[in-house]
Amino acid sequence: MSRVYLFKRYERFWHWAQVALVLTLIVTGFEVHGTWRLAGFEAAVKLHEACGMALVVLTLFTMFWHATTGEVRHFIPTRKNFAEQVRFYTGGIFRREPHPEIATPEKKFNPVQRAAYFGLLIFVFPVQIAAGVLYLGTPLWPGLIARLGGLREIALVHTAGAFAMISFLIVHLYMITTGRTLGANLKAMVTGWVAD
């Protein structure tokens, strides 16, 4: 059995740092939203702001990394094998059929993964980060906030983004188990290596 080195060290760092930040942002964000009370409003705000700024920095670095290494190509959506992959997830997987595609360093993600991550990184992330930054810096650009409809509108967009993240996370966590074995994908994201 051969092994393939799928996720480079920076990618894994990015992924797990993002896990920590996003989970903290969700927990503190919903405290700021008033959904639950854990750290106290003021502490939750401070933590949320710190994690949010850290996530912005991480995202900028990662964009740079993907652009300069060319790894960005993994996220470009494709139609090739898309239907097969959907059929696999909705049928073949129940009959233990083999995956239609095998992950390789040249093609890390299958077409459905590409579509999902592309949507997340191109739509949810930027909107969420933009709304968060606007929200955070309210005193710095009051005119802009007013032109965009007010703090309420920005807060609602940010809340909607948070719900989108939660929904994504639930499906994403489940999809971890859909690798060649239940633990294969998790292991790949921890060690970088995937058994072929």
Binding site: R96, A155, I166, V171
Partner: protein
Amino acid sequence: MLSASRRRGRAAAAAAALLASLAAAASAQTADHRRFAALKGPFQDARAVSRACRTCHNEAEAQLEKTTHWTWAAAEKIPGHPGITRLGKRNAVNNFCIGIQGNEASCTKCHIGFGRPDKHFDFSKHDAADCLVCHDGTGDYVKAGGEGGGGGEPVDYARLAQGVGPTSLRTCGSCHFNGGGGEGVKHGDLDASLLDATKALDVHMAKDGMGFTCSTCHRGDEVGHAIKGRLTSVSVSSAGFVTCAQCHGSAPHGMDFIFRSDRERISSAHFAPGPERLSPWQSLRRNWHARRIACQTCHIPEFARGEPTKMWWDWSTAGRHHPDGRPVIEFAEDGTMSYWGIKGSFRWQKDVVPAYRWWDGRSGRYLLGDRFDPSRVLVLNPPLGGPGDPAAKIWPFKIHSGRQPFDPVNKMLIQPYLAGKKGSGAFWGDYDWVTASRIGMKGAGLPFSGKVAFARTDMYWPVTHMVAQGARGLSCADCHSRDSRLAGVPGVYLPGYSRSRALDFLGWLSAVLCLLGVLLHGALRWLGGRGHLERILSRIRRMR
């Protein structure tokens, strides 16, 4: 919002500086009143003392007579009313003792003059100002009740005359702590507990703090006797307000204390700055709050923190009295008076969380003679301004509620004749609303149908004194939480409180559907993995 101890060091230094500068001013007095021949006495009464004062302070009376302390009225443009109205204590209506017209004998004890300033009083007449009521330094002068003061027990007036000094919490408080006929009745933020306030009660007036007197803030443009400050209980405009910003500036968080004069600035140089500062980001955020949130909203967590204040006054129950005419009096469990036969039922409260409203400093005003809709609560002085008004901020208020007499035919509030002896027709003597109303309304020059009913009224009192020491103000979650203090204040998005219920529902629905989806998918995989799924499917096919 107010993290503990952050500003304490610097505030204390500023306080000490200010105190030092004020103390320096006091010791710089160039006259010892005990040595003036004019004050040797003996004096027959307080009026004679005031006469003696004016032999030197010969501009004082002319200055005083221009102030509302004397005139009890000022020209005001009342919203919703044409032209200019002379409005003040003389003719304003409230939901405490209702109004002084006709009741001057009792109510004008707090006028700074001698005699009864009723509609026959000549306000341009000199020789009637009472210097001692504001400038008594001995603590022994009590302005007598009835006939506008000036009577009372004979005391050693020469000693009072030689003991005069600057106004003090006590002299100002002798009227302003007792408005409405007793301590804490009207103001929820001014009572005798301020005389020995701690910093927790009032950081400015605390003896162990800044040691302010009233006039430290309520000083005018350094023109004699032109005291700064007004209140919406009688005034409708914001002109002449004492503000926090007159010392602290409009963006004070994280900034150095702003001194009003070079003298104060120089004094401050003797003190080291406090050790702790707000981060620039926190300062920015708090100052951002201060754009639309009055300082008082965060820095006065509750009012009536020293003594209880009256929150409810129901005139409709008044009248119960003993056969000899003495009114029935009852007390609540906490010792406050709950019923008084001449006035009705009361509710008092201590440590009251204010009501919060948008306010731009102006107020509406119910004037005697206005018609109103008795099916709704009549607000006598509604605070004006809303979220769309850039001058408006969210302010804390004491709302004093009650029921008071009105004429259900003419649909106007009644100015009753209250203070008078048995047989005079006054309500407090004869307990007859119709007679008291007829006399009162006639005196006020208003019609009266002969019918008396009781209307629900509210009155707004902005809360502005009893500023607590920094760390004792509100914290973020007092407003930013599901049980927000600002619940119901329109036009503001409050993280932690505000939300779109529809969005929250859709968001959680999406999460739940995703969860159900993956659980179903997982279950199918589990069944398929053991071949169960195939068997089930083939059985279904055979059944067809």
